[in-house]
């Protein structure tokens, strides 16, 4: 950029520059010259009248000398700092003197500061951009036009997704395009991630929804089987001691406080998961992230078909009667579709109990991003070796489906062993 000589002085000659007459003055116009070449001036003399666009102001010079040349005619607007006249010692004008004012800044293409910043970041020279904005101003779109034209991805129409739901869908591998609108929340994503059969909404009204839900489940379970190298272990557990203890326990409490064996299995599972934390958590971004406490997903079968998987926060920390109360509460509310958001929070481990339906064991499919699923079959009396004798005992087959990326078989075996030991000492589950 062109600028007058520093300080406006050169040898015995000083440029008289367009002064800045106020904080907001960037340019000015000479309205009148009060001196002419040959006039002797002193520091502080008023030499011209300048229009600042706010007012006509007398301006003074800051040197003693003789006016050698008037550089700027009356009426021309120039930036602050432009030489207006040369004041010298009266000698002839030196050849180097500036003879013609130039604009202090070259005209710049019209563009707003954000567009300038954008262009700068994108490495686009604004001088090369054709402006289509008001008064030929360059808009952001004009800059984008210069950049490699990119097909814009169409916005999904109709359905609105909460930001949190969008994030969760990414984490849980749920394809939002398959879910019905008009608004999707986190609970919809959780439901899609864990519900094999959609049962909250009447089938007749939502055949399409169910259809798409089915597809979502298909996608999720396919992803599980495609991505998760499952390994399976099982153990048969003698529940004689546990059930006898439970019988005694129930004799000591009122009907409404009685506890069913499932509560015992849930609490034992939660405690075992706490002892073997490598199975409790999520596989995210290529690494195992242990759960912050045990949040147990509980598969609840629904009367109208299908199932829900509400989350129980840390049942291992609850007293057995509280586990029971939570269990009946959650089951009841799951079946009336009134689960709380906390109960739809992501679980760290899921338990499925298909014993009610008579199945002897479950070889489950893990819900991503969890790394294990614990299954219980029916509790049934079967022949069982006790010591060296054959007895008839209530047995249950507990299975573990686990993610081989996150753990090895020995870990899984330790988990099942821990589960067995917990159930052999039921008083510890109180």
């Amino acid at each position: 950029m062109w600028w007058p000589r520093p300080g406006g002085r050169w040898g015995d000659v000083a440029d008289f520059l367009m002064p800045s007459l106020g904080a907001d003055m960037d340019e000015g116009t000479i309205l009148e010259w009060l001196v002419k070449p040959g006039d002797v001036v002193h520091r502080g003399d008023v030499v011209a009248v300048v229009d600042t666009s706010k007012a006509a102001v007398d301006v003074e010079c800051f040197t003693d000398g003789t006016v050698e040349k008037i550089l700027l005619p009356v009426g021309e607007k120039v930036p602050v700092g432009t030489p207006l006249a040369i004041i010298g010692d009266g000698a002839p004008e030196p050849p180097q003197a500036v003879t013609k004012p130039e604009p202090a800044t070259k005209p710049q293409p019209l563009a707003s500061p954000p567009v300038r910043t954008f262009a700068k970041q994108a490495g686009v020279d604004l001088a090369a951009v054709h402006g289509t904005g008001r008064g030929g101003a360059i808009t952001r779109a004009d800059v984008e036009q210069v950049l490699a034209p990119r097909a814009r991805r169409p916005e999904p129409a109709g359905v609105r997704v909460s930001p949190y739901a969008k994030r969760l869908a990414g984490e849980l591998g749920v394809d939002l395009a398959t879910l019905p609108g008009p608004v999707l929340h986190a609970r919809d994503v959780h439901a899609a991630a864990r519900q094999p059969v959609q049962a909250q909404r009447p089938q007749a009204e939502r055949p399409q929804a169910e259809q798409s839900m089915r597809q979502t489940i298909a996608a999720l379970m396919s992803r599980s089987k495609r991505e998760i190298p499952h390994y399976y272990l099982s153990i048969t557990i003698d529940l004689q001691t546990a059930l006898e203890w439970l019988h005694e326990y129930n004799r000591g409490v009122g009907v409404q406080d009685r506890v069913v064996p499932t509560a015992l299995l849930i609490k034992a599972t939660a405690l075992a998961a706490a002892k073997v934390p490598a199975l409790n958590g999520h596989w995210v971004g290529g690494a195992f992230r242990p759960g912050d406490g045990v949040r147990l997903g509980l598969a609840v079968s629904l009367r109208g078909g299908g199932l829900l998987v509400p989350t129980l926060a840390d049942p291992g920390a609850l007293a057995l009667n509280e586990v029971m109360r939570t269990l009946s509460d959650v089951v009841a509310r799951a079946r009336t579709g009134r689960l709380r958001s906390s109960e739809l929070a992501p679980a760290t481990l899921t338990v499925t109990n298909l014993g009610d339906l008579g199945a002897e064991s479950v070889q489950g499919v893990i819900y991503p991003p969890q790394v294990a699923l614990v299954g219980f079959g029916a509790i049934s009396k079967r022949p069982w070796a006790v010591g060296d004798l054959l007895g008839v005992r209530p047995l249950v087959t507990a299975t573990l489906a686990a993610d081989h990326r996150a753990s090895d078989g020995a870990i899984g075996a330790r988990f099942l062993d821990a589960l067995d030991k917990l159930l052999q000492r039921p008083e510890g589950l109180r």
């Binding site: 949190y164 969008k166 958001s341 929070a345």
Partner: protein, 323 residues
């Protein structure tokens, strides 16, 4: 022991006057009258007219004199009767108290505490019902605090007096008579952090000062309906403890802000903006705001009630958020 919010404030004043001889109280009717709201009752008799100074009705002069006295080495507590009258001292608060440290390149500090009553709800009509604390919270150089509990009423003043910068302490007019339990050894509390006054996982309700009670009442109602609300008391409006608010949002994924200021350009707008800036991908529902209707506060009770954030409004907003 059980004491009122008013008594807790008075205890705090008494302690400050006893512990630090640089401390004095100055304002309209703080002495002979005992304070417009009775906060300083009895202090004139106890500490004398040098330290409990009744001023003329000259808000700009006595607030500015508080600033000058702070520059001169004292630790003044200036009482402005109500926030509405603080507008007469706005020049001093904003042009002087908030700027002197910066304008002087860090040479000067203004260790001053300005107390004032804020808020509506007592049928005092448009000129005695403002909630302008959010407005003051706009100003860098000031610290804005709003004790909502007995413990904070007792404990915030001393910490504010120890602050090397000007602190504005807002007392909601509806709280003075509220009784509460205070430990016999209650002492100074921090004035940096927001507090979780009730834990819950379904929705975050943010309130402060007078709206904390509104939020807590709403949380009780929601709980009866199976919705567990977490209630955050901001306590300090500037600088905002953004972390506590946003951590709660990260747990509940839903945010309802209760603010007795008007919605437009309000503290609630600030909190909502910060949640959107820093926790957008935690939000599972649009942010809800329960603010005062955009109208000067009317006198008639049913109109005033309708203008102000009520627990029922908060419950409705929380239900919308929870879905």
């Amino acid at each position: 022991m059980t004491i009122t919010y008013r008594e807790a404030l008075r205890e705090a004043l008494r302690e400050a006057l006893t512990e630090d001889e640089r401390v004095f109280l100055m304002g309209e009717d703080v002495g002979a009258y005992g304070g417009c709201f009775g906060v300083s009752l009895g202090l004139l008799e106890e500490f004398g007219p040098e330290r409990i100074r009744d001023t003329p009705l000259s808000e700009s002069a006595f607030v500015g004199a508080g600033i000058g006295a702070a520059l001169g080495g004292m630790r003044p507590i200036v009482e402005i009767m109500t926030v509405n009258f603080s507008l007469l001292a706005l020049d001093q608060i904003i042009n002087n108290a908030a700027t002197l440290r910066h304008m002087s390149g860090g040479q000067l500090g203004v260790p001053l505490v300005i107390r004032m009553t804020t808020g509506a709800g007592r049928q005092l009509a448009a000129q005695h019902s403002h909630s302008l604390e959010g407005w003051y919270a706009h100003i860098p150089g000031l610290r804005i605090i709003a004790p909502a509990t007995i413990e904070d009423a007792r404990g915030m003043l001393w910490t504010a007096l120890e602050d090397p910068d000007p602190v504005l302490l807002f007392e909601h007019g509806s709280l003075y008579n509220v009784p509460g339990e205070l430990a016999a050894d209650a002492a100074a509390v921090d004035i940096d952090r927001a507090a979780i006054r009730r834990a819950g996982g379904d929705v975050t309700l943010v309130g402060y000062g007078g709206t904390l009670r509104t939020a807590l009442t709403a949380a009780d109602e929601l709980a009866a309906d199976g919705v567990e609300a977490e209630v955050v008391d901001l306590r300090t409006l500037r600088p905002l403890d953004e972390d506590t608010v946003l951590d709660s949002v990260r747990r509940t994924h839903r945010l309802v802000i209760v603010d007795e200021g008007w919605r437009t350009g309000s503290l609630s707008a600030e909190i909502a903006a910060r949640a959107a800036e820093a926790a957008l991908y935690e939000l599972d529902a649009p942010i809800e705001r329960v603010c005062t209707a955009e109208v000067p506060i009317p006198y008639a009770k049913q109109l005033e009630d309708a203008a102000l954030p009520q627990a029922a409004d908060v419950v409705a907003a929380a239900r919308r958020a929870v879905g």
